[in-house]
């Protein structure tokens, strides 16, 4: 679509104002991302002595320091383990619950629905202190298992809440037909409802994965040994331990966000749908 075809019958001034607004918005959005990338590719002496918009020398040194000296790949691996486990557990458990809430009528359903929404909105900052005591009592302190367990506090409510909306959109008649053809209730869920809700499952999976990948506060409170740090935790300790480690820090920022950004651009349609389904009437 050319610019002219997009703006029929408008004054040139209006067109220019629109383009100017778009350029400003893009600069505001993109400049930080640009700065993150080029800082990660600059030599320390350039970062600190000759600030410039374009590196004079491109270097992979920051990435090497981060990976070899700081063992950042261990942190990435821990993050992958935690985030995928949380996603898998949430998808299974939340699918069952969401299906039950959408398809059946029973006592306490309203109460459970309110509990789920309430849990979705209850922020981690209110929970991290009691959760850390709880986890210590369960002997799960400083383990990835403990982290996976507490991450269910935010992943389960949001998954159940979002999946309800997707399951409700699957026509009941399809399921009833399937059951007449010999499927059990669970069979109807797995053979009919889940496949038809595939975009929803993808959105929920991405949401829970990113939620767990991004979490810092609980990780900070629960994880004490270096070998069990997740990516955000490793970068957090980079700024508190070293002096001005901007190069390696931004290298870590790039490494931790690239997978998610690719995921986002590939699955954008589902994500935007899910995002608005979670909060906004669809």
């Amino acid at each position: 679509m050319g610019p002219d075809s997009g703006l029929p019958g408008r004054h040139l001034v209006a067109k220019l104002a629109i383009v100017a607004a778009m350029v400003l918005a893009l600069l505001f959005v993109l400049f930080p991302v640009y700065w993150m990338v080029i800082t990660s590719l600059k030599l320390p002496r350039e970062i600190f002595r000759m600030p410039s918009l374009w590196p004079q020398v491109f270097t992979g040194a920051n990435y090497r320091i981060l990976i070899e000296d700081k063992e950042f790949l261990v942190a990435i691996r821990n993050s992958l383990i935690v985030a995928s486990s949380v996603t898998l557990i949430s998808l299974v458990v939340a699918s069952l619950a969401a299906y039950s809430m959408v398809r059946f009528r029973y006592r306490f359903k309203g109460l459970i629905g309110r509990l789920i929404l309430f849990a979705y909105l209850t922020p981690t900052s209110l929970l991290f202190i009691p959760l850390s005591i709880l986890i210590a009592r369960l002997q799960l302190g400083n383990t990835l298992h403990g982290l996976i367990f507490v991450y269910l506090t935010f992943s389960l409510p949001v998954s159940t809440w979002m999946l309800q909306a997707y399951f409700a959109a699957v026509p009941r008649e399809l399921e009833e037909q399937g059951m007449i053809d010999g499927l059990s209730r669970l069979g109807a869920l797995f053979r009919i409802v889940l496949p038809l809700s595939a975009p929803g499952l993808a959105a929920v999976a991405i949401f829970t994965f990113t939620g767990a990948w991004n979490e810092l506060l609980l990780a900070l409170v629960l994880i004490t040994s270096e070998s069990r740090r997740t990516a955000p935790l490793a970068l957090n300790y980079l700024i508190t331990s070293d002096v001005l480690p901007w190069g390696p820090l931004m290298a870590g920022a790039v490494l931790s966000s690239v997978p998610l950004m690719i995921l986002y651009f590939v699955a954008q349609r589902f994500i935007v749908q899910g995002m608005t389904a979670g909060s906004v009437k669809g």
Binding site: I18, M101, Y106, P130, L131, A165, L260
Partner: protein, 305 residues
């Protein structure tokens, strides 16, 4: 609904009882986990806030002593004030930018799809990455903001944005607006796209100007979305730990101290009772927000059924 599950026929139970048991069995794991991981910890936090518990030990009931201590503490007062400022000011900017850009993208503009994708970028980045990047951007040495301001001649002096009291809070706000506005943008855009085009046509036929069309058609169409987004964003911003922690850790001299960071510092000093009291003191205000949001969103859900 009353279809009898064929595979698990159990003669003594009626079909309805069976179905109820099945429904409960599916929902019980989530219900139990949420009671155990959200409900119980919330009540436990309230209990702990009335004790002098320290890390690794029990605590004695000390009544309101922790809250009395907080009431007299200047850090706590500034944490409350800063939290309110952060929420109100950054939400206002997120609304203005989100609404403005949603209105823009809802028009027929060049490269609309691509533009929309780029606008969502800050939200697609992990929050910790976003705030660490802004921390670097604000640096007096090696930061991009100072470079731009001095190069373009907008402001000739190097400023330590995060290091001085007068600029630290505005700097935190700008970074949270950057990270937070896409959620407003996309929610409002979804609301705009649900408004039937005929309504605009009718308003145009009636001779309404742009502002009148906004008041009569656009605003009623997105009001509900804006209210829910405001509530959600307020809850999230008030509780956002990463933003302040990664940018300033509450400094310089508590100029950006917010309550989640204060509670975390409390835990680090091993006095859990006091730390819990910081969170619990915020509980009433947050619960009110959460209850309002819950009832609005549940209203949505029952309409959907």
């Amino acid at each position: 609904m009353r279809q009898r599950p064929t595979s698990t026929a159990e003669p003594r139970l009626s079909a309805e009882t069976q179905q109820n048991l099945f429904a409960y069995a599916l929902v019980v794991p989530v219900a139990l986990l949420l009671v155990g991981l959200v409900g119980y910890p919330l009540f436990y936090a309230v209990y702990v806030s009335f004790t002098n518990m320290v890390v690794g030990g029990g605590g004695d009931w000390i009544g309101l002593a922790n809250f009395q201590y907080l009431a007299g503490s200047p850090v706590f007062a500034s944490a409350i004030w800063n939290t309110v400022v952060l929420v109100v000011v950054s939400d206002a900017f997120k609304l203005a930018i989100g609404l403005g850009l949603a209105l823009l993208v809802n028009e027929r503009i060049p490269a609309r799809g691509l533009f929309r994708s780029f606008l969502m970028l800050p939200w697609a980045m992990p929050a910790f990455v976003a705030f660490l990047t802004w921390r670097v951007l604000y640096q007096p040495i090696g930061g991009g903001i100072n470079l731009i301001l001095t190069n373009t001649g907008l402001y000739p002096e190097i400023v330590d944005w995060l290091g001085q009291r007068s600029t630290a809070m505005p700097a935190v706000i700008v970074a949270s607006v950057w990270r937070g506005f896409p959620f407003w943008f996309i929610s409002i855009l979804a609301g705009l796209q649900n408004i039937p085009a005929e309504l605009y046509e009718a308003a145009r036929v009636d001779g309404a100007n742009a502002w009148q069309r906004f008041r009569a058609v656009t605003w009623p169409g997105i009001k509900r979305v804006v209210i829910i987004t405001t509530l959600l964003s307020s809850i999230w911003t008030a509780n956002s730990f990463e933003s302040v922690w990664l940018l300033t850790q509450g400094g310089p001299s508590d100029a950006t101290m917010v309550f989640p960071v204060l509670a975390y510092f409390g835990m680090q000093t091993q006095r859990i009772g006091e730390a819990a009291a910081v969170s619990v003191a915020m509980l009433p205000a947050l619960l009110i927000l959460v209850f309002i949001t819950t009832s609005l969103m549940q209203g949505d859900e029952s309409e959907r059924d």
